[in-house]
Subunit: 371 residues, 2 copies
Amino acid sequence: QNKHFALFNVWYLISKHHEQDAKRVIHSIKVGTALVLVSLLYLLDPLFEQVGENAMWAIMTVVVVYDFYAGATLSKGLLRGIGTILGGGLGCFTAILADKFGKTGNTIVVGNSVFIFGAVATYYRMIPSIKKRYDYGVMIFILTFNLVAVSGLRADKILELARERLTNIGMGFSVCIITSLLIFPMWASDELHRSTSSNFTKLASCIEECMEAYFNVSEKEGRKSINTSSCKAVLHSKSSDESLANFSRWEPWHGNFGFCYPWEKYLQIGEKLRELASIILSLQACIESPLQPSRTLQEPIKETCKNVGLSLGVTLRELGESIMKMRRGNEKVLVLPELQSTKLELTILSSSELQAFETVEALAVANFMFL
Amino acid sequence: QNKHFALFNVWYLISKHHEQDAKRVIHSIKVGTALVLVSLLYLLDPLFEQVGENAMWAIMTVVVVYDFYAGATLSKGLLRGIGTILGGGLGCFTAILADKFGKTGNTIVVGNSVFIFGAVATYYRMIPSIKKRYDYGVMIFILTFNLVAVSGLRADKILELARERLTNIGMGFSVCIITSLLIFPMWASDELHRSTSSNFTKLASCIEECMEAYFNVSEKEGRKSINTSSCKAVLHSKSSDESLANFSRWEPWHGNFGFCYPWEKYLQIGEKLRELASIILSLQACIESPLQPSRTLQEPIKETCKNVGLSLGVTLRELGESIMKMRRGNEKVLVLPELQSTKLELTILSSSELQAFETVEALAVANFMFL
């Protein structure tokens, strides 16, 4: 049965690897398609006569804005639009204002405003909360403001230029949106949902592996070594979770996710999971330490500990599954009293044991998650 | 003495906050200066007559490439240059090749090559090792290839255009480099060095706080609560450490850092520190758990545990300081035997105690770090 489990794991890894790869290939094809579509603005004569050299901006928009997740593409595109409009508007205003100061005054006014707006916007860009969400928009604001304010000295037809560029950015953006949302969309929200649920499973198998390694010591081989990589993966999931949640907020209604879906809950669950992962990691360190309690101390708590480990594993898997399928886990009502009674049992036993304490700790956190 | 320590901590936080803020202001001013310098290409008539509308590319380069750390600016600029040259070269080649197929054939050849190169480059962009280091360069490659291949149909003077744009990108880049490296440079390597060393200090004060909270329980107030935020900050430092190390590799020789400085060592030390942080975090969870050993069990090990905690703290601080000052820590020879003897003492005592086991664990990891 153990071998079967290992085989299943390998198969799972391969299929997951392939799935990941298939997604990458699909994404590459989508980007290629979007690029060809937007290049048609250049390649087809009737279209080119309409848009002219400004078609460059449409291509640039597609290359820069297109991202793996639909939410990322949407947020970048919208931020680019807003940044361009704000920067362009302010740049226009500055150029018109500066025009009233004569030749030299003009240069001075434009130079100063470029310095002030550039410095202030750069400062705001570095504030963590703005950096996390609006970094790209602020960058585009600086870029557009500069280009418009500076070239305002040369081109009189600044408004027309702005209109044409915006139209082109809009065209590029709509090509992005169409290929990104309509052809095999990759939702960041799906990914966040899936990864949160799979983190439960990962921790469950970590706990089971620990129990296995601790209590099944064979005389000749010694203790089995424990694979800590999946536990560490959960521990380091913070930054990817945060960016996924950030993109998810931008994604429109789809699948089971409505408007105003509570994405922060995922971050909170992730935080709890990371705490649990750190406890499991130090449990693993305890198990692998050369300092161990004697057999006689181990024996009486063996059964209870194993039970706790297994039911913890089952509960975590159950929770992960109920998150995946988005149903209320009714099973927890069945498991919770059992866990509580084992905890009590362990409390009595554990006053002289190290191992159990750790497990109870993990349990306390798991219990906390039920609330 | 305790109050003094708290005051010192607050002062440290404020001064650090100010320092951070001062750095941001300096960076903003540097960006503003670079923008004004590059805008002069437009604003001053003799310069504008030379570069023309292509000055746009210089401004764009400054806005996009300029980053907080010198290493990030350098790497982005160099990747941008390489990407532009490669993309431009291939685009030129494609345009010339496609020109031989007549009007319709031309469109088909260009469209297909845009699709193929776009899709393949996008696929490579998503491979983690390439994404981490060369993402920006590949994006610029796609962009330039597209622009050149597509517009090759229109402009006959494609080589001249490429030369002018490259010159402008070069001008923008040199403005970046001059302002970034010569005026108050912010080295990513300094930051990595500083943060690694300060992580040692953070963990040291975490351990000391734990010991304080565990053994100094007053009857009326109960246990003091422990501040876990700095420990968690260490735990989640992986992604920022990695990007800093990545930027550091691009930075030229400066200060105490020579060529081929072993930046991976910092990542390895960081990994060990994170393991230690996760152990301290679960130690904190143990201390705050409602399940506690009786006073009589606590009393005999109190002194030894405190000693271990304090000497661990001292050792960590010492190590952090010796990293900061880049000198070989001779003190460890003095501290190590002491730790080892206390560990032995604890081993004798700890067979019936939970708390100590944890500490020994932390010690084992700390010892491991000496090797």
